[in-house]
Symmetry: C2
Subunit: 226 residues, 2 copies
């Protein structure tokens, strides 16, 4: 394995799994970090844990935090996940307050303890759901913060970089890129509101963006849908 370590935020979904493959392709040894945060679609974690060992990660850490106590989101509170909605209707109720900031903060802490200076996050600003913490200016601001927040950033041991390689890719581009890197999308999970048996609903924003991506990439999503 490379001695260039990188912490990769890894939910088990289409974007973060592709991001992990890109980090490895770029020569980094990936340290994957997932979160059990009280999400209603906890099946994504099972998928993440099952697929991670097959992706040559040096370590896969699942951090337990309970964002249900904070509330304010359809993904963690008793708010219905919207189906068949309008993508242009502003920031959706599936937005989780400060989620990416919390995830990146943990990744930063782990990176510093590991002696890593590279953090990968699979956000993208095209074909996205309108989340504020998926925009380039947000990623830039976190990178600046990381270099002020840490002992390693301050004492000159290195410079933290937040890599968001999917930022300007469409979902179709992401699918193409992942397939080229050998990602098995049948082992990923994207649905916000799966059936009790774990099938993707096909109707939430996340499913529809995913299906659109596969269609535009001219290929078929290997996942079964409800």
């Amino acid at each position: 394995m490379s001695d260039k370590k990188a912490v990769v935020l890894y939910s088990g979904g289409l974007d973060s799994t592709t991001c992990l493959a890109i980090a490895r392709e770029a020569g980094f040894t990936p340290y994957a970090m997932s979160f059990a945060y009280g999400q209603r679609h906890a099946i994504e974690l099972d998928k993440a844990c099952a697929y991670a060992p097959r992706q040559k990660v040096a370590e896969h850490q699942v951090v337990t935090i309970d964002l249900r106590k904070i509330g304010g989101s359809a993904l963690t509170a008793a708010i219905a996940v919207p189906k068949d909605g309008n993508f242009d209707a502003g920031i959706p109720v599936t937005y989780v307050p400060a989620r990416n900031t919390i995830f990146l903060s943990f990744a930063l802490g782990w990176a510093e303890a590991l002696g890593a200076f590279d953090i990968f996050i699979g956000v993208n600003a095209l074909d996205y759901s309108g989340y504020p913490d998926c925009r380039p200016e947000y990623i830039d601001a976190f990178e600046k913060l990381a270099n002020l927040a840490t002992a390693a950033g301050v004492d000159g041991r290195g410079v933290y970089r937040i890599h968001a390689p999917l930022l300007h890719l469409s979902k179709a581009d992401i699918v193409r890129r992942g397939l080229a890197l050998g990602v098995d999308y049948g082992l990923t999970h994207s649905c916000y509101d799966p059936t009790p048996a774990g099938l993707a609903c096909g109707r939430c924003d996340s499913c529809r963006l995913r299906l659109k991506g596969f269609a535009e990439a001219g290929t078929v999503d290997p996942l079964p849908y409800a």
Copy 2:
């Protein structure tokens, strides 16, 4: 109570308890947030929980996260807490990687869910232990991030402010300010390495800064020491 809500990071120590009193004095209704993060000085949490209800907080939330998994600090890993050390010897081993970034991220999420735009943190840049995430430029960077990270910051509902009212105060100033606001320091806890019975050691950086503060304020710390 005021309808100006503020989330206050509250460890139960001297600084954060004074910060909470300052937030209330400034007209905010405090929502106190503490963390069970695997710290070896977990007694501070017991103190925080016991004292919070007497400080007119609207709610006191204790978030459980396990920073021991991340490691890299004497406060969470099997590294000895230094005693009687030199304050000028750089960033000490009690620094916890990304701790304040993680804490502020949770505070931001809670603030957004509550509809609050004010977050208080009791960091101070004088008489401190050399932690990078206690500096003014760090606080400024987090404030910028907060306004990019959130739905409420982006859609014009408000502007997040990170208040660090202790930033430029000495420990003596903090003690004077807290006493003037009625803080009962006998109900707080600062020691990094208390005895099994919960007595402060008097020798770790945190104890020595605290004792120096009381001495310079011309008063006596009401806490018993080992």
